[in-house]
């Protein structure tokens, strides 16, 4: 008798309530081989199923597990044939070009990577046993007392710079700016900031203003600096240091964690806050609960999308789902969201009238900015890993599926095999899945978001770990002491 939680409900469930919670955003879903949750019942354990295909018995060397995979492969192969038969004749060069352009457009959006249509190959490899950071189009690593920058696309060493007091452990953070004259800026433990030309690594002589910087962020071509004493936030031209704006921060905000999200500077921590990155307007501050949570969790969590932002204030004890307040970009409160925001990082933000949240259950809820429920889905349907073209791709332990954001309708579903780990690495047309099995070892596959079929699958070393470095140009992998880039 099936006893798995979640076996119990269908695709989409309409509810008549509404309420929100903190970012449980899928980053990289874990590689968790499915195991039997169900306890052996009756006269013995329920065993793995296998399947005999069409007209002939499967090759004798296949285990039941392999047969199960074979069944899936055959189904996917059928799907491929079907798609090709129907679409193949009509798909002309113009469509292909349009599709390629669309892929390029998506991969240029934050959260997406370069097109994954073809199997990824190792573009370059770099020995970097320590922590690496992506700053703009560069990969930064410390090598002794030098800061080494590697071109993310070519893997060539762009430059290395012996920056006094900034290399190695002295660096607390580096960011890379965008724009025509990008820089790499690093902040040291003593609050000094060094600005380097991203092209050559030469130091940019920015006039010192004596600010003791705590955190440094990149906002377009500028730098956003958080200083502790006095607590303030300012935006400066990265090369000249000219101030764009400066705002004093209310008590408690400077101790929170800042982030730039879609042009807003958000603070998550004991006191949350939101500052408009364009003009420095303090849109709101949100004190956390009076009693700090015993587990040390952030008291006030702020998340933003291109269309607004939400605030979730933790309570020391709670007896229901977290509820967040949702605001417009201008700071107008629009409604209450039940559950944490569940918007994936890889998102093209289409269908902005739908926000995704997830309750503790975890039920996925699609709501309007006012918190009104549009649809809800049972936990076994999964949580969002990609949002594109008005749809969301959901991953559970067993199944990958794509749903329509407007009504929650399932567009396709594809089973995941044991050992499959769905990542959040997507180019908007594909999604990477890392797999492991006794038979085939480790492999990396791209699932086409069009229909859920596996576009390609390549064997990879067992030692590979995907790095979540937030780069769009390459897929970064750690392999022991090495970092390598896939394109």
């Amino acid at each position: 008798m099936a006893a798995r939680p979640g076996d119990a409900m269908v695709d989409v469930v309409l509810l008549d309530d509404d309420e929100p919670d903190a970012p449980v955003l899928p980053t990289a879903l874990p590689r968790v081989p499915r195991q039997r949750t169900r306890l052996a019942s009756g006269n013995g354990p329920a065993l793995r199923t296998a399947d005999v295909g069409a007209d002939s018995p499967p090759p004798a060397e296949r285990t039941p597990g392999e047969l199960a995979r074979l069944r899936r492969v055959r189904r996917r192969a059928l799907a491929v044939v079907g798609v090709v038969a129907v679409v193949g004749g009509a798909l002309g060069a113009t469509d292909a070009a349009r599709d390629a352009a669309e892929s390029r457009r998506l991969s240029a959006l934050p959260g997406f990577v370069a097109p994954l249509g073809d199997p990824l190959a190792e573009a370059w490899r770099l020995e970097a046993p320590g922590e690496v950071r992506v700053a703009g189009a560069l990969l930064l690593a410390a090598d002794g007392d030098e800061l080494v920058a590697t071109d993310l696309v070519t893997g060539a060493r762009a430059w290395s710079a012996p920056v006094d007091g900034l290399a190695g452990t002295g660096v607390t953070g580096c960011v890379g700016t965008a724009g025509a004259s990008p820089v790499v800026a690093c902040v040291a433990e003593d609050g000094r900031v060094a600005v380097l030309d991203a092209a050559g690594g030469t130091e940019v002589p920015v006039p010192a203003d004596g600010a003791r910087v705590v955190r440094l962020l990149a906002l377009d071509g500028d730098l956003v600096r958080l200083t502790g004493e006095p607590a303030s936030l300012d935006r400066v031209d990265a090369r000249t240091g000219e101030a764009r704006w400066s705002v004093a921060l209310p008590p408690g905000v400077a101790g929170s964690e800042p982030a730039v999200e879609h042009g807003l500077v958000t603070f998550t921590g004991e006191t949350g806050a939101v500052v408009d990155g364009a003009d420095g307007t303090l849109l709101g501050t949100f004190p956390g609960s009076e009693v700090r949570r015993p587990d040390g969790a952030a008291a006030a969590v702020v998340r933003a999308t291109p269309d607004g932002y939400g605030v979730w204030v933790a309570e020391r004890r709670r007896f229901g789902d977290m509820t967040g307040r949702w605001f417009s970009r201008d700071g107008d409160e629009l409604g209450a969201l039940r559950g944490w925001l569940a918007e994936p990082r890889a998102s093209d933000h289409t269908e902005p009238s739908v926000l995704l949240t997830v309750t503790d259950s975890p039920v996925l809820r699609a709501v309007g900015p006012d918190g009104a429920l549009r649809w809800a889905a049972r936990p076994e349907l999964g949580l969002p890993v990609v949002r594109v073209d008005g749809t969301a791709v959901l991953a559970s332990a067993d199944v990958l599926r794509r749903v329509d954001l407007v009504d929650g309708r399932t567009l396709w579903s594809a089973p995941l095999a044991e050992g499959d780990a769905v990542t959040t690495v997507s180019d908007g047309r594909h999604l990477l899945v890392l797999s492991a099995s006794v038979e085939d070892g480790r492999s990396l596959a791209a699932v086409a978001l069009e229909d859920g079929r596996t576009a390609w699958r390549e064997s990879v070393p067992a030692s590979w770990e995907l790095l979540d470095a937030g780069t769009s140009d390459v897929v970064l992998v750690r392999d022991g002491p090495d970092v390598l880039a896939l394109r």
Binding site: M1, A2, A3, R4, P5, D7, A8, M9, V10, V13, L14, L15, V24, L25, P30, R31, V32, R34, Q35, R36, L39, A40, S41, G42, G44, P45, A46, L47, R48, T49, A50, D51, A54, S56, P57, P59, A60, E61, R62, T63, P64, L78, D295, A297, R317, R318, D321, D360, S361, V363, R378, P379, G382, A395, T410, S413, P415, G419, A421, D451
Partner: protein
């Protein structure tokens, strides 16, 4: 939050405690429940309840009250001494009775499948094992693949101790390629394995393939080969019935099901059932499972057989708009319990309609049900006439009376799951709390707040308590008494640290044998009360 009346129905509370409840200035209901609970004395974290006062927080003596006279004080002291004597005597009797009841319950629980060793106290890691290359189970054994200098081998680990009992190389030759499940051969517990190589011929060349696989039964204790049965065809799925192995073959438009004596390799019975429906591509397909003692042949045609091979029914796939649904070829969804089985014709991998029909174990229609099966993994057989389902169109838990076919009750259950049936109650969790409802009336018996509880990741019970995973700031293990008491909570052991986002339905906490285990997919650890860190993981017996 509703709380149980003290002494009520949980089976632990005692009558003399219940009488004390009626005293006006009694301590809080929570404290009284605690006093009557088998968990009394266990360190646990009790949530703040508005208005509740603990036994030690009683109101102070009224200010300004007149001092008592010596005689009155003496009388009061005598009364107090007498009361204490009565209380002490009652407590002694209560202890004896409680101990006897606990022994009786322990004996009763020992026979319940899926019940683990008691976890009255916070648990620790007793052993850990890498499962990165895949693992299965057979009774109390964890079967994990590991790399050795000579290649892959399957290692059998005792789930109670973490000790490696034996290992078997991967085939061919004397090895095995796949092991999962336990059977019996002449009374000896065996692990069911397959060796499926070598194969000869290829489909592409048009040559007939030769299957030279074998069903290999390994002694669960030492891994020795107890029996080996060459197979002419690969079984399409398999299961275990009362120690026998059940195999399934497709032969053209029919499926042949064979129940095999594991030791002798001879057929106990053999049945051939026609496959009357085909897949979308025109092919036949069939695979076999065993569920709650029933044999299921699944595919475009679904067949249900008894353990004796009697046909209970066949159902063909309904013509539905199944495009895009990976498991659409499955004829119908069938789920079974000890009481019967249900058939959901338009399930579409549980994303379709949840209207189903419930049959008894003889294949007779009992009731129409709205909702997929929502029965828990562990049950003491309470109220067997009540069937739990969860409808697809609303977040509810429904109960159907199998004697009348009527719906008994419906309670909200948003995204949650039923964890255990115990003492006439269904204990469930829904992301915010663990709670119990009476199986017959649907009345809520108790509710314990557990913010962030994730029942979809699994749970275990020792029959007195249930252990769940919750995420509320960080991942925790939390124990709740089946009488409605929050018991203890602790951070998830660091060796199985889980990411913030766990895909729904990922098995992370369950039972192997009588041991609770938890995993993050890479590492599996055994849990036991008071255990320290493992001295040497997966140590081998000398």
């Amino acid at each position: 939050m509703r709380r149980p009346r003290p002494g009520r129905a949980t089976g632990h509370a005692m009558v003399d405690v219940e009488l004390e409840v009626e005293v006006d200035d009694a301590p809080s209901a929570l404290a009284l429940v605690a006093a009557g609970s088998p968990h009394h004395g266990v360190v646990h974290e009790v949530p703040a309840v508005p208005g509740a006062t603990s036994a030690g927080d009683g109101p102070p003596a009224a200010a300004g009250s007149a001092p008592s006279s010596p005689r009155r004080r003496l009388r009061r002291r005598a009364a107090v001494v007498a009361t204490l004597a009565v209380v002490a005597t009652a407590a002694g009797v209560a202890t004896v009775v409680e101990e006897r009841r606990e022994r009786e319950r322990a004996a009763e629980l020992a026979g319940l499948e899926g019940v683990v060793e008691p976890f009255a106290e916070p648990v620790g890691v007793t052993w850990r094992a890498s499962t990165a290359l895949g693992s299965t189970t057979a009774d109390d054994l964890v079967l994990r693949w590991q790399e050795t200098p000579s290649g892959l081998e399957l290692q059998a680990v005792d789930s109670a101790t973490g000790v490696a009992r034996w290992s078997a190389p991967r085939g061919p030759g004397d090895g095995v390629d796949w092991c999962d499940g336990a059977a019996e051969a002449d009374g000896t517990p065996v692990v069911v394995c397959w060796r499926v190589s070598p194969a000869e011929g290829t489909e592409q060349d048009g040559e007939a393939e030769t299957f030279e696989g074998a069903l290999v039964l390994l002694d669960a204790q030492d891994g020795g080969v107890v029996a080996e049965h060459p197979m002419a065809l690969p079984s399409s799925g398999y299961g275990v019935l009362d120690g026998d192995v059940v195999l399934g073959y497709r032969d053209g438009g029919a499926a042949r099901v064979v129940r095999l004596d594991a030791a002798a390799g001879t057929a106990v019975w053999e049945r051939e059932v026609p496959l009357t429906a085909r897949q979308v591509d025109g092919s036949y397909s069939a695979w076999l499972t065993v569920d709650a003692g029933l044999v299921l042949v699944q595919g475009a045609t679904t067949v249900v057989l008894t353990a004796e091979g009697d046909l209970l029914g066949t159902w063909d796939a309904v013509d539905t708009d199944a495009a895009g649904f990976s498991e659409a070829q499955q004829g119908v969804q069938v789920d079974a319990t000890a009481e019967g089985f249900g058939v959901w014709p338009q399930s579409l991998d549980r994303t379709g309609a949840s209207d189903g029909t419930w049959y008894d174990r003889d294949g007779v229609v009992v009731a129409q049900v709205e909702g997929f099966l929502a029965e828990p993994p562990v049950s003491d057989g309470s109220a067997p006439h009540v069937l739990l389902t969860a409808p697809g169109t609303r977040f509810d838990l429904d109960a159907t009376d199998l004697r009348t076919g009527e719906r008994l009750w419906s309670v909200p259950l948003e995204g949650g799951a039923v964890l255990v049936r115990r003492d006439g109650a269904a204990v469930a969790a829904d992301g915010r709390r663990v709670f119990a409802v009476d199986l017959v009336t649907g009345e809520e018996r108790w509710s314990v707040p557990v913010p962030g509880v994730r029942p979809d990741l699994g749970s275990v019970t020792d029959g007195e308590r249930v252990l769940v995973l919750a995420q509320d700031g960080g991942w925790t293990l939390q124990a709740v008494g089946l009488d409605g008491l929050p018991l203890w909570r602790m951070p998830l052991p660091a060796s199985v640290a889980m990411p913030d986002v766990m895909p729904p339905g990922t098995p992370a906490l369950w039972a192997i044998g009588t041991r609770a285990v938890t995993t993050n997919g890479q590492v599996l650890v055994g849990l036991a009360p008071g255990a320290g860190l493992p001295a040497d993981p997966l140590r081998s017996e000398p």
